[in-house]
Subunit: 414 residues, 2 copies
Amino acid sequence: MKFGGTSMGDLERIRRAARIVAAEAASGKKIAVVVSAMAGKTNELVAWTDGAGPAAAGLPLSDDEYDVVVASGEQVTAGLLAITLRNMGLNARSWMGWQVPIVTDDAHARARIIDIPGEKLGAAVDAGEIAIVPGFQGVTPEGKITTLGRGGSDTSAVAVAAALSCPCDIYTDVDGVYTTDPRIESRARRLAKVSYEEMLEMASLGAKVLQTRSVELAMAKQVPVRVLSSFIEPDESGQMPDKGGTLICDEEEIVEKRIVSGVTMSRDEARITLLGLSDRVDAPADVFTRLAEANVNVDMIVQSQARTANTVNLTFTTGRRDAVRAAELMTAGQDQLGFEEIRIDEDVAKVSVVGVGMRSHAGVAQTMFKALADKGVKFQAISTSEIKISVLIDAAYAELAVRALHSAYGLDAI
Amino acid sequence: MKFGGTSMGDLERIRRAARIVAAEAASGKKIAVVVSAMAGKTNELVAWTDGAGPAAAGLPLSDDEYDVVVASGEQVTAGLLAITLRNMGLNARSWMGWQVPIVTDDAHARARIIDIPGEKLGAAVDAGEIAIVPGFQGVTPEGKITTLGRGGSDTSAVAVAAALSCPCDIYTDVDGVYTTDPRIESRARRLAKVSYEEMLEMASLGAKVLQTRSVELAMAKQVPVRVLSSFIEPDESGQMPDKGGTLICDEEEIVEKRIVSGVTMSRDEARITLLGLSDRVDAPADVFTRLAEANVNVDMIVQSQARTANTVNLTFTTGRRDAVRAAELMTAGQDQLGFEEIRIDEDVAKVSVVGVGMRSHAGVAQTMFKALADKGVKFQAISTSEIKISVLIDAAYAELAVRALHSAYGLDAI
């Protein structure tokens, strides 16, 4: 079981989470719990490390000490949940990242889990103890504290479940994965099941239910993950009502296949266009090498003929946070790259349809283009994978496009 | 070097502490720093553990999880000080209690340090690294987090100094140990040196400069401890001005012996009187056995003849927090103990004079009694040790008595 920052936000919410844990324990399950820090707490700790000053040029980075400070947030909630459960008469104990241990590499502030020797933890859980593990934190083989980067608690939860060979229930402030964001389309439906691949596309395309890396790990380790609401409470008899939720699992386990499972939307995009770029065959490669070396991820790419002879216009998209840096890189290399003008447009949105059924069905793209055209939505770029189609459009049309596609693929609730 | 909670209270104060550390490092010293949590933070964490609920009867105590929660406060300041020092160009690193390790027994929430293997920490410090150690926390031989009880950071600092065979500078919000509390007697003087024994008496008698256990440890391990103000800053050239302070050291190192070094006052006293207690020879033993078994410490004891035949009045003092429990214990045993009435008086204060010179000088007590009598202060009980005399008086006279004694023993600043 994993509880996020909202579910750990204060003592009353911690007690509610404890009641859900108790109900699960009462049903005979053996349980490990992964917890986030209290909502807002991690931001406060990060602000303090910022206030202690960004390292001046030439000085060593302090990411290892950032980890020491920031990891404390989950330590607090792990201890508090253990106390709360004991006061309900349950056998519970917290296990810090270094006690389990949750072994990570030494990429401080963005570490990756490399191993969780599950024997000690598993023996404790088997013996009937509810093990509480702070999410987000780990320890290097040399014994230094690490953190996994923001949102890392989901990854911790899946990794602990993998180490214990058990399924992973993620309790959060939504009750499952929806066909699209219900705040945009009120007819959105909760999906009972969704495949790892679909969830991965949805997570990376802007559905904020789960952190991408946690879904990758669940797929790699074949951990069944359920997304559930932490606002559902056991009734007076201590029984949990039907919890609904969404199971994220292997494609084979989904009997009723849909062509499209969901429509996602992301505003975290920026479009950069290089006008009048030389039509040398290696010019685009030069552009994308410079971006890759600076760790700027590029998503969509479109090249079109320019009006000037021997030049092209090259358009690409990046995450919005990377846009300024990408533009600086291009401007710094303007002489070598040989383009005439650069334009940045942040007033764009990416709308995508995702579904494993696309693999075996033709006509998915046509449906998309027709639905958008019917509403007068023009698209500026397209990218596809085996199970998704994304279009870049004017941000003003984003919600309209989402609703049009949701309806066109028959996802609207009746 | 040790910095308390006030000196770690916010980022600006942490920067000031860092400047003091940097000045010491610039003078060529090799340094380990022990830090407290931000002032107020430990109280917040303790309140959360209280809010998570005191264990109901029959349920296991959660002191181990209390330690997990509360130890996080020092973890945060250790990391923040390390970041701040690095940003000043210094080589610094935090060492958690479990990383050093600071090995304690498993008396959670009030653990005692049993060993600090200083090799790893010492090697790092010798190699020029400023080692930052969170105070107050440790780890059991089994690898569970412990805390030392309130004020434990002083003890951590002395223990780390002992492990590294170096002196211990305690930076705090006062600039040394005074002949008495300057808020009571403005003519109080800072002592340049004070012996371990004197400091121990003063600490346990109400001078709140250092935690008693830290002084005991310093005496046992012969660690020279200096109490210094953390409000003194290096000048523009990075040099520290004369820091003053008080050195707590072996009696032999104090050349100029004083008969009395200080006058202390404590209101944390309660007086309990059993009227008409049986004069059976074992009745007082029965009283004090009951109190000892309930861990109630008794300080002063006076027995006097009662008006009723075959009975005595027995008066004793306890810490104020223990008074209600002591009274309950007495009342519960009233039939067996056989007394007529119990009275509790919390309107009392204990005033004491402390000095190693008493060992070799007669007339110390007379001076005390005469000075009090001259001001019309009656005393209700007396207790003495080799180097101190304490009297219990009406609380209303406490400050008057302190000033009278400070003057009578020639401690007033000229």
